[in-house]
C-alpha cells in the first residue's frame, strides 16, 4: 500500500522536491483530435463561420463521431467552436463587436506577463529574455524577405505567446493560447484579410528592451498602445502604411498548440 500512497501523493501534490524524470503522459485520442482541429482553424482550413459536419471531419481524421464530438466540446469551451442544438458545430467568428473585448483580455494576460518578467531577478530575467529573442529572428526574417502577411502574423503571435510562456505559468499560458487563436480568427474574419503593420519590429524591440530594463509598467503601456493600434486597424479606424495580404499560405507552425 505504501507505493500506492506515494503515487497518490504525487498525483495530489506533484513531485516533492526535484523530479528525477518527467511524468510520462501518453496523449489521449481526444488530445490529438483537439490539436488537429485547432490547427485547422488557425491555418484557415476551417474558415470562420463555416459549419463543421461531424461525419465528414471524423472520417477525414480516421475516427468515429464519438471522439470527435468530445474533442469539439473542448474547443467550444475555448470559444473556438460554437454548438447550436440540432444545428451542430460552426467555427466561431470574431466580429468587429468582439475585437475590443478580445484585446482587452489579451492585455490582461500579456500585460501581467511582461510585468512579471520585468520584476524578476536580472539574472533570471535575462535567461528568459534570451529565449524570447530567439522568436525575434523569424519575425525579422519574414519582414525582411517580404513574406505574406500571414507568415508575419505567425511570427508576431508566436512572440506574444512566448511572452506568456516565459513566465512558466501554465494556466496563463493556456489562456493566452486560446486568445491568440481567437486573434487569428478575428484576422481571418476581417474583410480586408490579414493586415500587419510594418513597424511591429520597432514595437517589439522597445517592448523587450523595457522588460530588460525592469520597467514593467512601461512595457505594459507599450503593449497597450500596440494593441490599441491593432484594434483600430481591425476596425478600419486607421489609415496608415501597412502590409496586407489575404494569405493563402497553408502550414503555419503553431508554437502555442502543443500538447499539455
Amino acid at each position: 500500500m505504501n507505493e500506492t500512497q506515494d503515487r497518490d501523493a504525487v498525483r495530489r501534490n506533484g513531485p516533492v522536491s526535484r523530479p528525477l524524470v518527467n511524468m510520462v503522459r501518453r496523449p489521449s485520442t481526444v488530445d490529438l483530435i483537439a490539436v488537429e482541429l485547432r490547427n485547422a482553424i488557425y491555418s484557415g482550413t476551417l474558415r470562420p463561420g463555416s459549419s463543421v459536419r461531424e461525419a465528414e471531419v471524423a472520417s477525414q481524421l480516421g475516427v468515429s463521431r464519438g471522439p470527435l464530438r468530445e474533442s469539439a466540446q473542448r474547443l467550444v469551451q475555448e470559444g473556438l467552436l460554437v454548438a447550436r442544438p440540432g444545428a451542430g458545430l460552426r467555427v466561431a467568428t470574431v466580429g468587429a463587436d468582439q475585437v475590443a473585448e478580445l484585446y482587452a483580455a489579451r492585455l490582461a494576460i500579456e500585460g501581467s506577463a511582461v510585468r512579471h518578467l520585468a520584476g524578476l531577478e536580472p539574472e533570471d530575467r535575462e535567461r528568459r529574455l534570451a529565449a524570447l529573442r530567439e522568436l525575434f529572428a523569424p519575425l525579422e526574417a519574414s519582414l525582411a524577405d517580404g513574406s505574406d502577411a500571414r507568415r508575419i502574423g505567425d511570427a508576431d503571435l508566436d512572440l506574444h505567446f512566448g511572452l506568456v510562456e516565459a513566465t512558466g505559468n501554465l494556466r496563463m499560458t493556456a489562456m493566452a493560447s486560446t486568445l491568440i487563436v481567437q486573434t487569428r480568427l478575428a484576422a481571418l474574419s476581417h474583410r480586408d484579410g490579414y493586415v500587419v503593420r510594418t513597424d511591429i519590429l520597432d514595437v517589439h524591440r522597445t517592448l523587450l528592451g523595457q522588460i530588460s530594463d525592469g520597467d514593467g509598467l512601461a512595457a505594459e503601456q507599450t503593449l497597450a498602445g500596440h494593441f490599441q493600434q491593432s484594434v483600430d486597424r481591425l476596425l478600419g479606424r486607421l489609415e496608415e502604411p501597412f502590409s496586407t495580404v489575404v494569405g493563402a499560405a497553408e502550414g503555419s507552425h503553431f508554437a502555442f498548440n502543443r500538447l499539455p
Copy 2:
C-alpha cells in the same frame, strides 16, 4: 437569399446597433450537464482527486455516457477534471505547488478588471459599483452571524467574480469563473479545510473605495496584497487570527456558474 445573408451577418458581427431582443439560445444537454458537474465540484460533492465513474454519474444525471463524456471534456479544458487514458476521469487537485500560479492568474484577470472599472466615467463607474455593493451584503451577513467558513467563502468568491463580471467582458468573465472554481478546489484540497480571514470585510471595503475614487493602480495593489495573504495562508506560512471550518454545508449558490 437575402434573409440568409442577414442571418449570417448577424452571426458574424452580432446585432448591428442595438439588439431589440436578446437572441434566444436553448441550452444544450451538454451545457446542463457541465453546469451540474461544476456545481458538484464546487460544492464538494465531487471531492478533489476522487475518481469520476462515468456510468455511475451518467445514471445519476439520467443521461447516457456519451453526453456525459462530452461535457466532461469541457471541464477537462477548464482544468477542473483530469483525464488519463484508460484510467478515466478524476477531479483535479490544486496542490500547494499550484496555489501561487493560480493566484497570479487571478491577479492578472481581476487586477485588470478593477483597473478597467476605476478608469470608467464616474457616472458609469458608480452604476456598476452599485451592483457590486449588492454582493457586499451577503458577505457582511455571513460574517456577522458567524456562518461557517464555506458560506463566507461563497460570498467572497461571488464578490470577486462580480468584479470581473461588472466589466462586461465575457471572455474575462469566463476565465474568472474557471479560476474561481479552481480556487475552491484549492481550498477543498487544503489539509486545514476552508480557511477565511476575519478581516476580509475591510479589504474589500478598501478595494471598492479605491475603485470609486478612480485609483485603479491602488485597487490592484490592494488586490495583490489580499491575494498574497491568501497564498501564504493556504501554504501555512502565516499564523494569524482566522476562522476555519471544514464546512459540510451543501448548496452553495454559484453565481458564476450560469449558462452562457
